[in-house]
Protein backbone atom coordinates (compact mmCIF):
# COMPACT_ATOMS: atom_id res chain seq x y z
CA UNK A 1 0.00 0.00 0.00
CA UNK A 2 1.03 3.56 -0.55
CA UNK A 3 0.62 6.65 1.51
CA UNK A 4 1.30 10.19 0.52
CA UNK A 5 2.15 12.77 3.16
CA UNK A 6 1.83 16.46 2.39
CA UNK A 7 3.87 18.74 4.64
CA UNK A 8 3.30 22.50 4.57
CA UNK A 9 4.52 25.38 6.68
CA UNK A 10 1.69 26.47 8.94
CA UNK A 11 -0.27 29.57 8.11
CA UNK A 12 1.44 32.53 9.72
CA UNK A 13 4.90 31.00 9.38
CA UNK A 14 6.87 33.03 6.84
CA UNK A 15 7.75 31.01 3.74
CA UNK A 16 10.63 32.86 2.10
CA UNK A 17 10.98 30.20 -0.61
CA UNK A 18 7.34 30.56 -1.56
CA UNK A 19 7.81 34.32 -1.66
CA UNK A 20 10.82 33.96 -3.96
CA UNK A 21 8.80 31.73 -6.29
CA UNK A 22 5.96 34.28 -6.28
CA UNK A 23 8.43 37.02 -7.28
CA UNK A 24 9.88 34.84 -10.04
CA UNK A 25 6.43 34.11 -11.45
CA UNK A 26 5.71 37.84 -11.48
CA UNK A 27 8.99 38.45 -13.29
CA UNK A 28 7.92 35.92 -15.93
CA UNK A 29 4.82 37.98 -16.58
CA UNK A 30 2.31 35.86 -14.67
CA UNK A 31 0.23 38.57 -13.10
CA UNK A 32 -2.24 37.90 -10.38
CA UNK A 33 -0.25 35.35 -8.36
CA UNK A 34 -1.17 36.65 -4.93
CA UNK A 35 0.70 34.12 -2.88
CA UNK A 36 2.83 30.98 -3.12
CA UNK A 37 3.39 28.49 -0.33
CA UNK A 38 5.91 25.74 -0.91
CA UNK A 39 5.74 22.40 0.84
CA UNK A 40 6.82 18.84 0.29
CA UNK A 41 5.26 15.55 -0.62
CA UNK A 42 6.61 12.34 0.89
CA UNK A 43 5.54 9.05 -0.68
CA UNK A 44 5.65 6.00 1.53
CA UNK A 45 5.64 2.43 0.26
CA UNK A 46 4.16 0.50 3.17
CA UNK A 47 3.54 -3.10 4.12
CA UNK A 48 -0.10 -4.05 3.74
CA UNK A 49 -2.02 -3.54 6.90
CA UNK A 50 -0.09 -0.47 8.04
CA UNK A 51 -2.68 1.69 9.70
CA UNK A 52 -3.33 5.34 9.12
CA UNK A 53 -2.59 5.80 12.82
CA UNK A 54 0.93 4.45 12.18
CA UNK A 55 1.44 6.98 9.40
CA UNK A 56 0.20 9.74 11.70
CA UNK A 57 2.81 8.65 14.25
CA UNK A 58 5.49 8.82 11.54
CA UNK A 59 4.40 12.38 10.78
CA UNK A 60 4.35 13.44 14.42
CA UNK A 61 7.71 11.87 15.24
CA UNK A 62 9.73 12.65 12.14
CA UNK A 63 8.15 13.66 8.87
CA UNK A 64 6.77 17.00 10.05
CA UNK A 65 7.98 19.44 12.68
CA UNK A 66 4.65 20.41 14.17
CA UNK A 67 6.10 23.58 15.68
CA UNK A 68 6.20 25.07 12.18
CA UNK A 69 4.56 22.55 9.84
CA UNK A 70 1.16 20.99 9.30
CA UNK A 71 0.65 17.71 7.48
CA UNK A 72 -2.05 15.68 5.83
CA UNK A 73 -2.07 11.99 4.90
CA UNK A 74 -3.54 10.37 1.81
CA UNK A 75 -3.76 6.58 1.83
CA UNK A 76 -3.79 4.54 -1.39
Amino acid sequence: MKARVHVMLKNGVLDPQGEAVRHALGALGFDGVNGVRQGKVIELDLADGTSEADVTQMCEKLLANTVIESYSVEIG
Binding site: L62, L63, V67, I68
Partner: protein, 222 residues
Protein backbone atom coordinates in the same frame (compact mmCIF):
# COMPACT_ATOMS: atom_id res chain seq x y z
CA UNK B 1 35.14 20.01 33.19
CA UNK B 2 34.56 16.88 31.15
CA UNK B 3 33.06 17.55 27.75
CA UNK B 4 31.76 15.26 25.04
CA UNK B 5 31.44 16.48 21.46
CA UNK B 6 28.98 14.55 19.30
CA UNK B 7 30.09 13.75 15.76
CA UNK B 8 27.41 13.10 13.14
CA UNK B 9 28.11 12.29 9.51
CA UNK B 10 28.26 15.81 8.10
CA UNK B 11 29.37 17.58 11.28
CA UNK B 12 32.14 20.02 10.41
CA UNK B 13 32.68 22.17 13.52
CA UNK B 14 33.25 19.25 15.87
CA UNK B 15 37.02 19.65 16.06
CA UNK B 16 36.79 23.44 16.44
CA UNK B 17 34.42 22.97 19.36
CA UNK B 18 36.73 20.38 20.94
CA UNK B 19 39.68 22.78 20.60
CA UNK B 20 37.69 25.59 22.26
CA UNK B 21 36.67 23.31 25.14
CA UNK B 22 40.28 22.13 25.58
CA UNK B 23 41.62 25.69 25.52
CA UNK B 24 39.27 26.43 28.43
CA UNK B 25 40.75 23.52 30.36
CA UNK B 26 38.31 20.72 29.57
CA UNK B 27 38.98 17.05 28.98
CA UNK B 28 37.20 16.31 25.71
CA UNK B 29 35.92 13.07 24.27
CA UNK B 30 34.50 12.78 20.78
CA UNK B 31 31.36 10.67 20.60
CA UNK B 32 30.15 8.98 17.41
CA UNK B 33 26.47 9.29 16.48
CA UNK B 34 25.95 5.52 16.53
CA UNK B 35 27.15 5.21 20.12
CA UNK B 36 24.23 4.76 22.41
CA UNK B 37 25.89 5.92 25.62
CA UNK B 38 27.82 9.01 26.61
CA UNK B 39 31.15 8.46 28.36
CA UNK B 40 30.99 8.35 32.16
CA UNK B 41 30.89 11.55 34.22
CA UNK B 42 30.38 13.96 31.36
CA UNK B 43 29.53 17.49 32.53
CA UNK B 44 28.63 18.99 29.18
CA UNK B 45 27.73 17.70 25.75
CA UNK B 46 28.54 19.87 22.74
CA UNK B 47 26.50 19.42 19.58
CA UNK B 48 28.54 21.02 16.83
CA UNK B 49 27.76 22.87 13.64
CA UNK B 50 27.67 21.27 10.23
CA UNK B 51 25.11 19.41 8.17
CA UNK B 52 24.20 16.33 10.15
CA UNK B 53 22.99 13.53 7.85
CA UNK B 54 23.08 16.02 5.01
CA UNK B 55 20.30 17.97 6.74
CA UNK B 56 17.89 15.74 4.82
CA UNK B 57 14.19 16.21 5.55
CA UNK B 58 14.84 19.25 7.81
CA UNK B 59 18.01 20.59 9.43
CA UNK B 60 18.73 18.45 12.47
CA UNK B 61 15.66 16.24 12.06
CA UNK B 62 17.45 12.94 11.42
CA UNK B 63 20.16 13.69 13.99
CA UNK B 64 17.47 14.26 16.60
CA UNK B 65 16.46 10.59 16.16
CA UNK B 66 20.00 9.17 16.38
CA UNK B 67 21.02 6.76 19.16
CA UNK B 68 23.43 9.19 20.83
CA UNK B 69 20.88 12.00 20.98
CA UNK B 70 18.62 9.81 23.11
CA UNK B 71 21.45 9.71 25.66
CA UNK B 72 22.00 13.45 25.28
CA UNK B 73 18.32 14.00 26.10
CA UNK B 74 18.60 11.76 29.14
CA UNK B 75 21.72 13.70 30.21
CA UNK B 76 19.79 16.98 29.90
CA UNK B 77 16.82 15.53 31.75
CA UNK B 78 19.17 14.66 34.62
CA UNK B 79 20.23 18.32 34.76
CA UNK B 80 23.34 17.92 32.60
CA UNK B 81 24.66 20.72 30.40
CA UNK B 82 24.16 20.65 26.65
CA UNK B 83 25.34 23.26 24.21
CA UNK B 84 24.23 23.24 20.59
CA UNK B 85 25.85 25.56 18.09
CA UNK B 86 24.38 26.25 14.64
CA UNK B 87 23.31 22.80 13.37
CA UNK B 88 23.51 21.78 17.03
CA UNK B 89 20.87 24.41 17.88
CA UNK B 90 18.69 23.00 15.10
CA UNK B 91 19.14 19.50 16.55
CA UNK B 92 18.16 20.73 20.01
CA UNK B 93 14.94 22.32 18.75
CA UNK B 94 14.13 19.16 16.80
CA UNK B 95 14.55 17.06 19.95
CA UNK B 96 12.34 19.43 21.91
CA UNK B 97 15.09 20.25 24.43
CA UNK B 98 14.69 23.85 23.32
CA UNK B 99 11.45 25.44 22.06
CA UNK B 100 10.84 26.86 18.59
CA UNK B 101 12.41 26.03 15.24
CA UNK B 102 14.96 27.41 12.79
CA UNK B 103 13.53 28.41 9.43
CA UNK B 104 15.23 29.28 6.16
CA UNK B 105 16.89 32.72 6.33
CA UNK B 106 14.41 35.41 5.35
CA UNK B 107 16.74 36.59 2.56
CA UNK B 108 17.07 32.97 1.33
CA UNK B 109 20.86 33.22 1.20
CA UNK B 110 23.46 31.34 3.14
CA UNK B 111 25.20 33.96 5.27
CA UNK B 112 28.79 33.67 6.44
CA UNK B 113 30.09 36.74 8.28
CA UNK B 114 30.91 38.12 11.68
CA UNK B 115 27.94 39.76 13.37
CA UNK B 116 27.33 41.79 16.50
CA UNK B 117 25.61 39.92 19.31
CA UNK B 118 24.10 41.56 22.32
CA UNK B 119 24.42 39.54 25.51
CA UNK B 120 20.87 39.61 26.89
CA UNK B 121 21.58 37.92 30.19
CA UNK B 122 24.64 37.11 32.23
CA UNK B 123 22.55 34.82 34.44
CA UNK B 124 23.73 31.49 33.06
CA UNK B 125 26.91 29.46 33.30
CA UNK B 126 27.42 30.15 29.60
CA UNK B 127 27.08 33.92 29.71
CA UNK B 128 28.40 34.71 33.20
CA UNK B 129 31.67 35.91 31.69
CA UNK B 130 29.89 38.82 30.01
CA UNK B 131 27.80 41.67 31.30
CA UNK B 132 24.22 41.91 30.13
CA UNK B 133 24.22 44.51 27.39
CA UNK B 134 27.73 43.73 26.16
CA UNK B 135 28.04 43.56 22.38
CA UNK B 136 30.41 40.87 21.12
CA UNK B 137 31.56 39.95 17.63
CA UNK B 138 30.90 36.32 16.69
CA UNK B 139 30.76 34.68 13.24
CA UNK B 140 27.62 33.15 11.79
CA UNK B 141 27.53 30.64 8.93
CA UNK B 142 24.07 29.33 8.19
CA UNK B 143 21.22 29.02 5.73
CA UNK B 144 18.51 28.16 8.22
CA UNK B 145 19.00 30.39 11.23
CA UNK B 146 15.73 32.28 11.24
CA UNK B 147 14.43 31.59 14.74
CA UNK B 148 10.70 31.02 14.95
CA UNK B 149 8.46 30.44 17.94
CA UNK B 150 4.81 31.21 18.56
CA UNK B 151 3.95 34.39 20.47
CA UNK B 152 3.29 32.59 23.71
CA UNK B 153 6.69 30.85 23.60
CA UNK B 154 8.45 34.11 22.75
CA UNK B 155 6.82 35.85 25.68
CA UNK B 156 7.81 33.02 27.97
CA UNK B 157 11.43 33.09 26.76
CA UNK B 158 11.65 36.85 27.23
CA UNK B 159 9.75 36.89 30.54
CA UNK B 160 11.94 34.16 32.02
CA UNK B 161 15.17 35.84 30.87
CA UNK B 162 15.95 32.87 28.63
CA UNK B 163 17.10 34.81 25.57
CA UNK B 164 20.89 34.52 25.79
CA UNK B 165 21.92 36.53 22.73
CA UNK B 166 20.24 38.76 20.16
CA UNK B 167 21.59 40.11 16.87
CA UNK B 168 22.38 43.82 16.86
CA UNK B 169 21.56 43.84 13.12
CA UNK B 170 19.24 40.92 12.42
CA UNK B 171 20.77 39.04 9.45
CA UNK B 172 18.22 36.26 8.97
CA UNK B 173 14.75 37.43 10.00
CA UNK B 174 14.83 35.74 13.41
CA UNK B 175 11.90 36.67 15.61
CA UNK B 176 12.79 39.23 18.27
CA UNK B 177 16.34 39.20 16.81
CA UNK B 178 16.98 35.98 18.73
CA UNK B 179 20.38 34.37 18.17
CA UNK B 180 20.50 32.03 21.16
CA UNK B 181 18.23 30.75 23.93
CA UNK B 182 18.44 28.86 27.20
CA UNK B 183 16.38 26.00 28.59
CA UNK B 184 14.21 26.47 31.65
CA UNK B 185 16.98 25.25 33.98
CA UNK B 186 19.49 27.45 32.04
CA UNK B 187 21.78 24.48 31.39
CA UNK B 188 20.91 23.88 27.76
CA UNK B 189 22.03 26.59 25.35
CA UNK B 190 21.30 26.73 21.65
CA UNK B 191 22.78 29.45 19.46
CA UNK B 192 23.25 29.97 15.74
CA UNK B 193 26.51 32.00 15.95
CA UNK B 194 29.82 30.19 16.44
CA UNK B 195 31.67 31.20 19.64
CA UNK B 196 34.20 28.41 18.95
CA UNK B 197 35.25 30.32 15.83
CA UNK B 198 36.11 33.37 17.90
CA UNK B 199 38.03 31.72 20.70
CA UNK B 200 41.66 32.10 19.65
CA UNK B 201 43.72 35.08 18.52
CA UNK B 202 44.33 33.22 15.26
CA UNK B 203 40.61 33.40 14.51
CA UNK B 204 40.75 37.16 14.22
CA UNK B 205 38.59 37.65 17.31
CA UNK B 206 38.37 36.18 20.78
CA UNK B 207 34.97 37.37 21.99
CA UNK B 208 33.72 33.78 22.19
CA UNK B 209 36.44 32.60 24.55
CA UNK B 210 34.72 34.07 27.63
CA UNK B 211 31.81 31.69 27.10
CA UNK B 212 34.05 28.62 27.33
CA UNK B 213 36.03 30.09 30.24
CA UNK B 214 32.84 30.83 32.21
CA UNK B 215 31.56 27.33 31.55
CA UNK B 216 34.83 25.77 32.59
CA UNK B 217 34.90 27.83 35.79
CA UNK B 218 31.33 26.87 36.69
CA UNK B 219 31.82 23.18 35.98
CA UNK B 220 35.21 22.98 37.67
CA UNK B 221 33.69 23.78 41.02
CA UNK B 222 30.55 21.71 40.39
Amino acid sequence: MRAAVVVFPGSNCDRDLAVAFKAAGADVEMVWHKDSDLPQDIDIVGIPGGFSYGDYLRCGAIAAQSPIVKSVKAHADRGGYVMGICNGFQVLTETGLLPGALLRNAGLKYICKTVGLKVETSASDYTAGYNAGDVIDIPIAHHDGNYFADDETLKRLQGDDRVAFTYTDNPNGAQADIAGILSENRRVLGMMPHPERAADAGHGGTDGAALFRALSGALQTA
